[in-house]
Symmetry: C2
Subunit: 402 residues, 2 copies
């Protein structure tokens, strides 16, 4: 008996009608002769409602109590979905995260899964019971409720699929797959039939908000076949697996990320260890640095420019300004009006002309490039934020329609 793990996000179970629809999707999969385990998030904006309730009372409460509060959301969803499946006459049982065996560390609000004790789930699956598991939550070794942080339900689903050796892990969401660009921006954006884990990871990091990185990393590690598809439309989505079907396309997607700020340190003394000193200051504050660009030295000084997430920009500037003397730099500049646009594709490696084609597209659109960064399967450029949307369209057009 094959096991299919299906994950349904908050919008998929937002109201009674949606819950009924999800029950249909699950029972249809079951009727095809599969065992089904569904992982569910809290209904619609219910988590936000709970956060508001907490903030009204104590915005600086402990993460332990926040986890107790927030994990109630999924508890409601699993019960409602189980009730809908019961109505259809199928054997079904809902399980809280800990009932499904999720043991995590004690890092409340952003816990890591330590292990999954699958005994209970397996006993139920052996009886052909449909299982509805509360995503996003687990229990630490002190028997305290924990939550897995952003994208937690995706992670729960992939982890269960791995632990139970499921045939497939289907992530139902409000888009019907992974596109070559954001279809809301780029007319003619194409849905991909498949994409590799690495490409998906680059796309996710670069702001294509279909799947959370953690779940893709886990799928890659345990080689779980993922499928992203829409709970509202009845058609295949995008498969994410180790070796994607080699398609004719060189790049698998264009992504933009506007949550970026550029910080420049001017006229640093050109001496060894300078970069280390700067970035260790930021690392100490847990500020992640993305693209780094160092100018060629001139007159015994050099400039270092890098990008950080917008919300970390002020903090980074503050730290570096305080240490200006120590690192011997003249000025710290910050520009929040930037965006990162990237192309991702496993085919890039063997196609040397890709970067050139990208620059061509931007030049034709008269868009100035600030910084460039490349990896084996991705090229990112930093441009002015006002040009971002146009850049994505121009690049997509160049690669897919030329």
């Amino acid at each position: 008996m094959d096991l299919i793990v299906q994950k349904f996000g908050g919008t998929s179970v937002a109201n009674a009608e949606r819950v009924e629809h999800v029950a249909d999707l699950i029972t249809r999969t079951y009727d095809k002769g599969n065992n089904v385990l569904a992982v569910v998030s809290a209904q619609g904006k219910f988590t936000d409602v709970l956060v508001d309730k907490a903030n009204e009372i104590n915005p600086k409460g402990s993460r332990r109590e926040m986890d107790v509060l927030l994990s109630a959301g999924e508890q409601i969803s699993i019960a409602l979905l189980a009730l809908a499946i019961e109505k259809r006459g199928y054997p079904v049982k809902s399980m809280l995260g800990w009932q499904a065996g999720f043991v995590t560390d004690s890092n409340h609000s952003n816990a890591r899964i330590r292990r999954i004790n699958t005994e209970r789930v397996q006993n139920e699956l052996a009886k052909r019971t449909i299982i509805i598991v509360a995503g996003f939550q687990g229990l630490d070794r002190y028997d305290d409720m924990t939550t897995l942080g952003r994208g937690g339900s995706d992670t729960s689903a992939v982890a269960l699929a791995a632990a139970l050796n499921a045939k497939k892990c289907q992530i139902y969401t409000d888009v019907d797959g992974v596109y070559t660009a954001d279809p809301r921006i780029v007319k003619g954006a194409k849905k991909l039939d498949s994409i590799s884990y690495d490409e998906m990871l680059e796309l996710a990091t670069l702001g294509a908000q279909v799947l959370h990185n953690r779940s893709v990393e886990m799928a890659k590690r345990y080689n779980v076949d993922l499928e992203v598809l829409s709970s509202l439309e009845d058609r295949p989505g995008t498969i994410i697996k180790e070796e994607a079907n080699v398609e004719k396309m060189i790049i698998s997607g264009v992504a933009k990320d506007t949550n970026v700020a550029r910080i420049s340190l001017l006229e640093l003394k050109d001496q060894p260890g300078m970069a280390f000193r700067i970035f260790s200051l930021l690392a100490k504050e847990k500020i992640n640095v993305d693209i780094i660009l160092q100018s060629v030295g001139r007159d015994g000084t050099k400039d270092i420019t890098f990008t950080v997430a917008k919300e970390n920009a002020d903090h980074a500037v503050e730290i570096l300004s305080k240490s200006k003397e120590q690192i011997g730099c003249k000025a710290v500049l910050c520009d929040k009006e930037v965006a990162k646009v990237s192309i991702v594709g496993a085919g890039m490696e063997s196609n040397p002309g890709v970067a050139c084609k990208l620059f061509d597209a931007l030049a034709q659109a008269n868009i100035n490039i600030d910084m460039v960064s490349t990896s084996e399967i991705k090229i990112s450029v930093l441009i002015h934020i006002d040009d971002a949307q146009r850049a994505v369209a121009a690049i997509h057009d160049k690669f897919y329609n030329d």
Copy 2:
């Protein structure tokens, strides 16, 4: 270190302001040098909201899933209350029913407590942590969520007070104590300083909806001192204990219950075993029978009249009508327009004139009595429902103001 168990109902934690107020009550008790364990219900009408959600999807769902759904309500309350106490700078931990050690049978939606494993709670109390426990819920031996049914949070509180040998169990509610009659009906109803378990049991059964019977029974069994008091007003409530302070009053209260229906079986054959046959039919359907009255036989036939809860009346009539031949009865009549009015008092036993005084009060008010039933500490009369309110006032007046 004395332990005070405090229970707060849904209205006491209905919104942020109320939660803050409850946090003040708890920390004030703690500051007096007590350990405090609070048991909390779901916020305001939240349980009803959840029931509505379930009914919209499947009104005939399993009780197992309903328990998963409903127990989310208390989970939200305990977290919010813990957050409010954290804000005040006190050590606090919320605990779900199972984390506080509640093990129940598997009778979902109306589970019985089997035992409470108090180890975790005691460890925390030893550290002077304030503990907030989700009432109404537990876990059965299959690790499934269970709920304790109506009045469940009261029962949770009393059970914990008993298991932890608490000094007192305070039940905070929206009334400030137990009255000699419903103060909304009877002007001049008096608050009792204290009342015995038995009197309270009779009053609760008879419709004085201050405390659920189960919690009073448990308090009696384990000799837990209960106090009913208001979370909104800062004054002593009513103490419920084994030996209430002997008061001058003969009766401790007048109660009315309008959730009653009277069923009459006419012209039954007057032969042995008849009552058994009738009531075993009802027992099989789990229909509780209250007052039973059997007429003296005449012409070889007799009549049997009894009362049931209103919601069971139609079902009882249906069953008995079906078996009319078998039990040899002419007609099954049902009257839902009745009410039961009762007086309760431990002093009754040694005061033979009580019943007479009751009948006198009703006669003066020109209220006809349908049935009478007495126990050692209570007298109940069945009257027309339209007379109920007037009857309570007349009786109260007779006993307290004459």
